[in-house]
């Protein structure tokens, strides 16, 4: 792959006698989101931390935008890469605004540029800058802190974001909302990201490709759909979970992909939006017991989606 943003080759790290990461290699294209998934202790966090040199590899190399990471000073390298950690780690003695401005300050941005960037990010993550900026982290809820953690990582406009369980320890509703927010933001900003998670659903929601890790090795690295349709024998199969794979495949597709034309009319009582997933459409069809659903945008019917089309997507062999 030419022009890979992150390129990892033969990366190995031992802790004492235990091999945490065993000769791992992968590439992440510019603008791509890769998820590293696996059980605790599979080496996914260690892999992530070797990319910004929080842990030095024993062997192998990391290339960032074509440059060997070892040639860069660790602090400078880290200032250029956004990093979101599991425990959020906001600085409790600094205001929200000061927290977000950490890296821009280190980089010596001038005051007005920092202030503008902080306001911009607060708005992007759904805060009122005048109200949230002067607050201290302790005054925020868990979900709000997590958002500020991501905003802080993005403050200096890094091209790369490394995220270690970024939305862990949140209730499912907040979690899903943050995941959607993140997807929207990264589409707009063209960020390249690596996300470490043990939650397969999160990987499916956020990532373009997923690397399943076990015992320090990558067992399979593929798009979510290919991973669901053709998981390797053994750990991958077990970890990906095949019981509801048809439904999971449906959740990777949008209604607009299958919508057929339909005469314009006011919205009926039951309908789906073009950006809803096929899984949502399927659920509604099962509940309503019909054969087709209207696709509605701005209160007018713009098309229809049929049950048979949806089922076909979720069938073995389709793709």
């Amino acid at each position: 792959m030419k022009g890979a943003m992150i390129r990892v080759e033969g990366l190995t790290r031992r802790f004492g006698d235990a091999v945490a990461v065993d000769a791992i290699g992968f590439e992440v294209a510019r603008g791509e989101v890769l998820a590293l998934v696996g059980t605790s202790g599979c080496g996914k966090s260690t892999t992530l931390r070797m990319i910004n040199r929080l842990i030095e590899p024993d062997k192998g190399r990391v290339e960032i935008a074509g440059r060997d990471a070892r040639e860069m000073a660790p602090d400078a390298l880290r200032r250029g890469i956004g990093y979101v950690i599991q425990g959020v780690g906001l600085f409790p003695h600094w205001t929200v605004a000061r927290n977000i401005s950490t890296v821009p300050r280190l980089l010596g941005w001038d005051r007005s540029r920092i202030a503008a960037r902080v306001d911009e990010l607060l708005e992007l993550f759904g805060f009122d800058p005048a109200e949230a900026g002067p607050k201290y982290p302790a005054a925020l809820s868990g979900g709000q802190q997590q958002r500020i953690g991501v905003a802080r990582a993005m403050a200096a406009e890094p091209e790369i974001l490394l995220m270690d369980e970024p939305f862990g320890a949140l209730d499912p509703v907040t979690r899903a909302r943050l995941q959607d927010e993140f997807t929207a933001i990264r589409r707009r900003s063209g960020l390249t990201a690596i996300i470490v998670t043990h939650d397969m659903d999160e990987a499916f929601r956020l990532a373009d490709r997923i690397a399943v890790m076990d015992a320090g090795r990558i067992l399979q690295i593929d798009t979510p759909e290919r991973l669901l349709r053709g998981p390797r024998e053994g750990f991958v199969r077990q970890f990906v979970g095949l019981d509801d794979r048809a439904l999971r495949i449906l959740s990777l597709h949008r209604v607009r992909e299958l919508a057929r034309p339909a005469p314009d009319a006011p919205a009926p009582a039951q309908w789906v939006a073009p950006e809803d997933t096929l899984r949502e459409a399927a659920s509604r069809l099962i509940w309503e017991g019909g054969e087709a659903l209207a696709v509605v945008e701005a209160d007018r019917i713009t098309g229809e989606i049929r049950a048979e089309d949806i089922w076909r997507v979720g069938t073995r062999g389709a793709a």
């Binding site: 602090d75 990093y83 425990g87 906001l90 003695h93 280190l106």
Partner: protein, 246 residues
């Protein structure tokens, strides 16, 4: 600000008043003294003794604080962990070794007066500052430290901007303990000729004058309480973040 420092200000005013007008204590001291004994120590002005006392404790406190802080920072750095046992042993020894014994050893080397007492107080005040510095710096949460590193703060920046400010309330507790202990301990310096409020107590003990002992002890106690409340106020101020928030 005012609510943190009201008590120490009132106490300090009372202390100054008693030092300048010790005769205000006579009604109480009369109950303790034998008939015909002097009630108020008058060989030197009490104010002079108090100022020397304070200077001694202050100077030793500065040295103990600087040393304790430096040692505490050193042993919590990645390369300094191996000094931990040594530093802890040294500061523990300083606390275990009775100050009076330090005086006995120091007098032949440094002579009588200020110097040996100063040394004894430096050694004695070290442990609380050292231990609380270590505890404070270690108490900075792992995610906060990890975030600081991951964000690209250098080692010095992490220490000054993140770790020390967050450890400050704990460290101030150590400085407070150290200072209060030393205000009391400094009285023994008078046995080797250091000028201080201990002189009043020693004179009282030598001449069997309970009034002297009581007024010396009372003034030292008042000074200690005064320092305690002042430093506690400072600690609360740090807790509220006013000192460390940029």
């Amino acid at each position: 600000m005012k609510r943190y420092f009201l008590a120490p200000l009132v106490l300090a005013a009372l202390l100054v008043l008693l030092l300048l007008r010790p005769e205000l204590m006579t009604p109480l001291l009369r109950l303790l003294a034998e008939p015909g004994q002097d009630l108020i120590y008058d060989r030197k002005p009490l104010m002079t003794l108090a100022l020397w006392h304070l200077a001694l404790v202050g100077a030793a406190g500065l040295v103990a604080t600087a040393t304790g802080l430096a040692l505490g920072i050193l042993v919590t750095r990645p390369g300094g962990a191996e000094f931990m046992t040594l530093a802890r042993m040294a500061s523990n020894l300083g606390q275990t070794f009775p100050p009076i014994a330090v005086l006995a050893v120091a007098v032949p080397l440094l002579g009588f007066g200020f110097e040996p007492t100063f040394l004894a107080l430096c050694v004695y005040g070290l442990l609380p500052v050292f231990e609380t510095t270590v505890a404070g710096l270690r108490g900075v949460s792992a995610p906060v430290r990890e975030a600081a590193r991951g964000m690209g703060l250098s080692g010095v920046q992490r220490l000054w901007r993140v770790e020390l400010p967050l450890a400050m309330p704990v460290i101030l507790t150590g400085i407070r303990l150290s200072t209060v202990i030393n205000i009391g301990t400094a009285t023994i310096g008078s046995t080797v000729g250091a000028v201080g409020l201990g002189e009043v107590i020693v004179a009282g003990l030598q001449s069997g004058n309970t009034a002297f002992v009581a007024q010396g002890a009372a003034l030292v106690a008042l000074m200690a309480i005064c320092a305690e409340t002042a430093l506690r106020g400072l600690g609360r101020l740090a807790d509220s973040g006013a000192l460390t928030r940029a």
